[in-house]
Symmetry: C2
Subunit: 348 residues, 2 copies
């Protein structure tokens, strides 16, 4: 089969690799129907995270189950399934606590798995899924083609945006600022709206993304950044800032922006992979601004969000503004890198 391998900075290739085979009794082999490129895939692509040896890449996919191991109980051959961006048993104490990204037996696509093997990346034709019962969620029936993009967002960006909102404590009447207008930031707007936010400010400088932000529920757009951005946000909220700030980027600038945009006693829900180094505690301490979030345990959110995606009540699939065949994976990365696309969907 063919799968994507990253070799180094701006060097991703679709290569012929061995087909996956069942390895443990709890595995499933899933034929990928759609995968995509994540903002965090751009860190190694841009060389910010060095690639020391070539490896499979991609961690978001939906597909159809082709084979299952003898211990698999809840997933059947032929099911259309959503995989979170990691695998998990969904039974260990951390999974029970709602933190399946800290599963004691889980692992990451395209990385060492915790069973001693090396997990497949998602940007390929097939993926071996460990802990299939824990990791995968099957849709009630075979979805139509138009539903695939929305379902694919449940693998990561929609669940991650939701985690930002949940972590920031968004509830009915909350005032919200979303820092970041990538796919996660845009999905965070959907999440804030469905949790009842009364006002949602999207910080964005790109007209196309501003349009999606408004469509998703943003009530205000702020284009300024840095001190001017903070001043504008405070001006919008009684001079003090917003109740909840959803940080969906991960840089030093975005984290500073988020912290300063929260009102005293407010909460920053952050899901952007942190690349900005350590943060000063005093600006949090002095104003009682909390910091909550992390690598989003999206597995636990799929059941809650799936019905709304299937019914069209929410339309996170809208973040995919470019669709390419898997053979054009290099162009998919380039389009994301150059911000020609918000998010690229790949069809094997």
């Amino acid at each position: 089969m063919r799968a994507t391998v990253i070799y180094g900075e701006r060097d991703v290739r679709l290569e012929e690799v061995a087909d996956p085979t069942l390895s443990t009794g709890g595995d499933a082999i899933v034929r990928v129907v759609a995968a995509c490129v994540c903002g965090s895939d751009l860190w190694p692509y841009r060389g910010v995270q060095p690639t020391t040896e070539p490896h499979r890449i991609g961690h978001e996919f939906v597909g159809v189950v082709e084979e299952i191991g003898p211990e698999v109980k809840t997933i059947a051959v032929g099911d259309f399934v959503i995989a979170p961006f990691y695998d998990c048993d969904n039974t260990c104490i951390n999974c029970q606590n709602g933190v399946s990204t800290s599963c004691l037996n889980g692992g990451w696509w395209g990385s060492d798995d915790r069973l001693g093997g090396f997990a497949d990346g998602a940007q390929g034709e097939k993926v071996r899924v460990p802990h299939a019962d824990g990791s995968l969620v099957a849709t009630p029936s075979m979805p139509g083609d138009a539903q695939v993009p929305g379902l694919l967002t449940l693998a990561d960006v929609m669940g991650t945006g939701h985690h930002a909102a949940v972590s920031a404590g968004v509830t009915a009447g909350s005032t919200v600022v979303v820092v970041g207008d990538g796919a996660v930031g845009l999905c965070a707007i959907i999440a804030a709206k469905r949790l009842g936010a009364s006002r949602i400010v999207a910080m964005s400088r790109h007209a196309d993304r501003q349009a999606v932000a408004r469509e998703f529920g943003a009530t205000d757009i702020v284009e300024e950044r840095g001190e001017a951005g903070v001043a504008r946000i405070r001006e919008l909220f009684d001079g003090i800032g917003a109740d909840c700030v959803l940080e969906c980027v991960g840089t030093k600038e975005s984290m500073d922006q988020a912290i300063e945009s929260a009102r005293p006693g407010g909460m920053v829900g952050y899901v952007g992979v942190p690349t900005g180094g350590p943060i000063a505690v005093r600006p949090l301490f002095g104003r009682n601004v909390g910091l909550n979030g992390g690598v989003a345990p999206v597995r636990g959110y799929i059941e809650e969000l799936l019905p709304e995606v299937l019914s069209g009540a929410i339309n996170p699939g809208r973040v995919f503004d470019l669709e390419l065949p898997l053979t054009d994976v290099a162009e998919a990365y380039a389009a994301m890198d150059e911000r020609r696309a918000i998010k690229v969907l790949l069809r094997p």
Copy 2:
């Protein structure tokens, strides 16, 4: 009158100063019945925070109202009052949001006030209290002498310990670790117990403080620190750590201890004045450990805690293990600095 002035490292003096006078219509003049020395007073005392010019010091006091300005409505001459460790109007938007330490019109004892003057320190015979209606809480009747220490803790340490517990989300059944066995840490144990924690670990190496911790509700004591301390805590809680960790020190070591002692998805409630520099985000992000808290808005907690102090349901006054006349203020600082006392009460 006499009041304490700090001149520099290990140099505090009781001096003759001018009596305070009413300055705004909302002021009250309070005759101090009891004051005390705070762990945070030790930062300038030890020279960790340099003292650039001599100034009044002390921020915890209870007393009797001697004079009020014409605009004061809720406080009367003769009332026994508790002052939080800052003044606040209790009406601005931040006060309404429960963050009276960020009062738009408030200030700090022994520091510039926001009305253009210089506020009195609490370690003196009298204090001018701006925003008397907002800042002060009167007891329903004149307390007995034995009730004074407990009431004095509501000025800071009991409310601050409570803030750590509230910020960490302690609720019925929570597992809790308290980092720090000073007065705030010990009060945090009381707070965690009254909020329903099922298990409370006190990290302490001092037999006298361990005894108070157990009296206050600690179910376990951990003496180890650093990696050994983290290992011991995780061992006590299913190998993963506690739901809620209350950080009551403020150093780099204590913050690291707190973060590593929280389980994935857990929350650190921190109230120790941060002196440890910036903190790494990855250890929080990777395990979804939240960080919440700050300079405790104790004014808002006084009404909730006061009845339990008066009834004896909680006994935070127990943290005072040394009582001295105000004339011995230098010895009070030395006793705290050398850890000969947990907390020293001063009577003018």
